[in-house]
């Protein structure tokens, strides 16, 4: 019984990080209807950024997080102008391919620079013991940070001028333009924020697990699942979706072989997408 409880707690902790990663993806989709296939590559870049700041730069990994976020934001804005701006409003195939091309370039460069052997960021935080089970300390810290960042983003989107502008562009770009919002600049900023969040999520994951430049791929797929659970384009839903995914993983794994978990996850993903295209947390049907 305790085993199941611990498994669920573990799942929720990790789920909050899945949620954070997915927020980056869903924010971009919500604002400019682009599914960012470079999401995984950006997560991986966040991992490496943290690694170099923490090992070569000698910084405390957690204090390095803001730098990773800023770097991600700047990189994201650059990617927007280079690869994404021209495909906004065109068929979704174009934006999918443009972001996929960016992903190929990043992964190709990363492979050439850092090979594909795993890297480790060493963190020693004592874990919390529950009976014979232990919840690792770095998981607890990472989950708390993920939720704080998600909350900060929520406050930003709802209570600042820029945040409101982003939401206005997301709901109706023409109308926002008429209200005097420079929509193109807002798009670039929103893309930057999305990438910044993906990079921080990657950095948090790097404090938990070894990683390579290819590691982002798995979290990208998880982000898709999470966004669909929470509703595409809905940042608050994404965090809930992440927690739900973590909860499902935690509840399921004591009862079936863990290698079956992806089967359950992705089947659920397809079914929910067909049955509730707007996500579980919002009533209504997709177009």
């Amino acid at each position: 019984m305790i085993g199941i409880l611990v498994s669920v707690i573990n799942g929720l902790l990790l789920g909050s990080i899945y949620g954070l990663a997915a927020i980056g993806l869903t924010l971009i989709f919500g604002v400019m209807k682009v599914i960012n296939l470079a999401h995984g590559a950006m997560i991986a870049l966040g991992m490496f950024a943290l690694y170099f700041l923490a090992t070569s730069g000698g910084m405390n990994p957690y204090l390095a997080l803001p730098l990773v976020a800023i770097g991600g934001f700047v990189g994201g804005v650059a990617v927007y102008w280079i690869g994404v701006h021209r495909v906004i409003g065109r068929a979704e195939l174009m934006s999918l391919l443009a972001t996929f091309a960016v992903s190929m370039i990043i992964i190709g460069l990363g492979t050439a620079l850092w090979s594909t052997s795993p890297y480790n960021v060493q963190i020693n935080i004592p874990g919390v013991a529950i009976g014979n089970y232990t919840i690792p300390g770095n998981h607890l810290v990472a989950a708390v940070i993920a939720i704080l960042i998600a909350a900060a983003l929520y406050l930003f989107l709802f209570y600042t001028r820029l945040g409101k502008a982003i939401r206005a562009v997301a709901s109706n770009r023409q109308a926002a333009e008429l209200m005097g919002i420079p929509s193109t600049r807002v798009l670039a900023i929103a893309f930057g924020i999305g990438i910044g969040i993906a990079a921080v999520a990657g950095a948090l994951i790097a404090t938990l697990f070894p990683f390579t430049i290819l590691s982002g791929g798995g979290y990208e797929l998880k982000s898709f699942v999470v966004t669909v659970l929470g509703g595409l384009g809905n940042p608050a839903g994404a965090l809930l979706g992440g927690l739900l995914l973590g909860f499902i993983e935690g509840v399921v794994s004591p009862f079936v072989d863990v290698s079956w978990t992806p089967v359950i996850e992705f089947s659920l993903f397809v079914v929910i997408l067909i049955a509730f295209p707007m996500g579980l947390f919002r009533v209504g049907r997709g177009k």
Binding site: T116, N120, L214, V258
Partner: protein
């Protein structure tokens, strides 16, 4: 620029030893320069290359009265099987490879193996322990590794001797090699009368092991055996440490033998690995260097102690070299016949291939050892051979006390 190149050429030809090579022997293979198997594949490639350079420096391979220079042609398989066949066919048809080495890993080798049959080329397989490939009716495959079903025999023997009542959890990557190992281990544990309380595979891309580790705690297991390749195995070892698992023995495949494993620090301590070879083994070789010579030369060149992936690569070279010299020819069938006849000891251990039609090429001469990461008197981590006890350089630490 041209002048410089010319003068370099001249000085190179002046300093090179005065050997006249009749021709080249071309050996083709793919290696995982990129992709998830990169860390495992690199030492194997280094083993190949060390052998090549030593052979060529010593005058090449002698075939009849001619000296042949060894030339490699290699491509990057990106750790995925999709292009392996195309690349191997290219090696045979366009690059005119005389002989083939296998890629790293059982999965890629299974894909490459059929080329040796289709195009009639000898392929020495190394870094590929899974045995099924040899049961398909081949004539030209020769396996350097002890087959997968025997991989964990030494670890289980050790458990049986130290703690026959141990509860064993088998936790392994859901992939060809690790699954074959686990299947063999489960059978062998049954034969020894050991108690396997958990038997579960995990997805190869797993990074979060906490669900499965929680299940290990629930099962009450005291010994954990399993793993897969470097990426998942090193992650598993790290999380075993972070989750403070109170296990008496941890034995993982492959990962602890890759030199990078030591970067895990305390998490590496006490972890054992079934190994095809360790630098401390003492065989009297019929041909080729001793283990000490190989270790010294490898270290001088790559600045790291060789593991068994490197030794397997190097040993593939000397075994092929020996067979070619015995055959006195580059002809596939003659060299294959020499390999079929081989029953020799090298620095890497005894080498003999099954010649039965049903499992031709399977390695039947070679035995494995168990190595464990231990601390020396200064607290520095190093690998020691711990089983079989007679061949060991240190006693097995059981239970691991952290």
């Amino acid at each position: 620029m041209k002048k410089l190149a010319l003068s370099l050429l001249i000085s190179a030809s002046l300093t090179a030893p005065a050997i006249s090579y009749a021709k080249d022997i071309v050996i083709g293979f793919t290696t995982s320069e990129t992709g998830k198997l990169n860390a495992d594949s690199t030492p194997q490639l280094q083993g190949f290359e060390l052998w090549r350079d030593q052979v060529n420096a010593a005058g090449g391979i002698k075939v009849g009265n001619d000296h042949y220079k060894v030339k490699f042609v290699k491509y990057d398989d990106q750790s995925t099987a999709s292009r392996v066949q195309q690349l191997y066919v290219r090696l045979v048809t366009q690059d005119n490879a005389n002989f083939l080495f296998s890629p790293y890993s059982s999965g890629l080798t299974a894909t490459a193996a059929i080329i040796s049959e289709q195009y009639g080329k000898v392929m020495i397989t190394t870094g590929a322990a899974e045995g099924k490939t040899y049961e398909l009716g081949n004539q030209y495959l020769f396996q350097m590794y002890t087959p997968a079903n025997l991989y964990l025999a030494s670890a289980l023997d050790a458990v049986k001797a130290k703690d026959p009542g141990a509860k064993i959890a088998l936790i392994y990557e859901n992939g060809g090699f690790a699954k074959a190992v686990a299947k063999g281990a489960k059978q062998y544990a049954g034969k020894l009368g050991l108690n396997v309380v958990m038997d579960e595979a995990y997805d190869p891309s797993t990074t979060d092991f906490s669900p499965i580790l929680n299940k290990v705690v629930t099962s009450g297991a005291t010994v954990l055996i399993g793993g897969g390749h470097f990426a998942d195995g090193s992650t598993l070892a790290r999380q075993l440490h972070e989750q403070n698992m109170k296990l008496k023995m941890i034995s993982l495949l492959v990962a602890p033998d890759v030199p990078k494993f030591v970067e895990l620090g305390d998490a590496a301590y006490g972890v054992s690995v079934p190994s095809q070879w360790e630098p401390e083994v003492k065989f009297t070789p019929d041909f080729g260097p001793t283990a000490a010579q190989f270790t010294k030369e490898y270290k001088a060149r790559y600045h790291v102690t060789p593991g068994y992936h490197a030794a397997g690569g190097y040993a593939s070279g000397i075994v092929l070299e020996h067979a070619i010299e015995q055959a006195g020819s580059l002809d596939t069938d003659k060299v294959a016949a020499a390999l079929n006849k081989m029953n020799a000891t090298t620095f890497y251990g005894n080498i003999q291939f099954a010649t039965d039609k049903s499992d031709h090429g399977l390695q039947i001469g070679h035995d494995m050892v168990l190595a464990q990461w231990q601390k020396d008197s200064q607290g520095k981590l190093g690998k020691q051979v711990v089983w079989p006890a007679a061949a060991g350089t240190a006693p097995l630490i059981y239970p691991i006390s952290k």
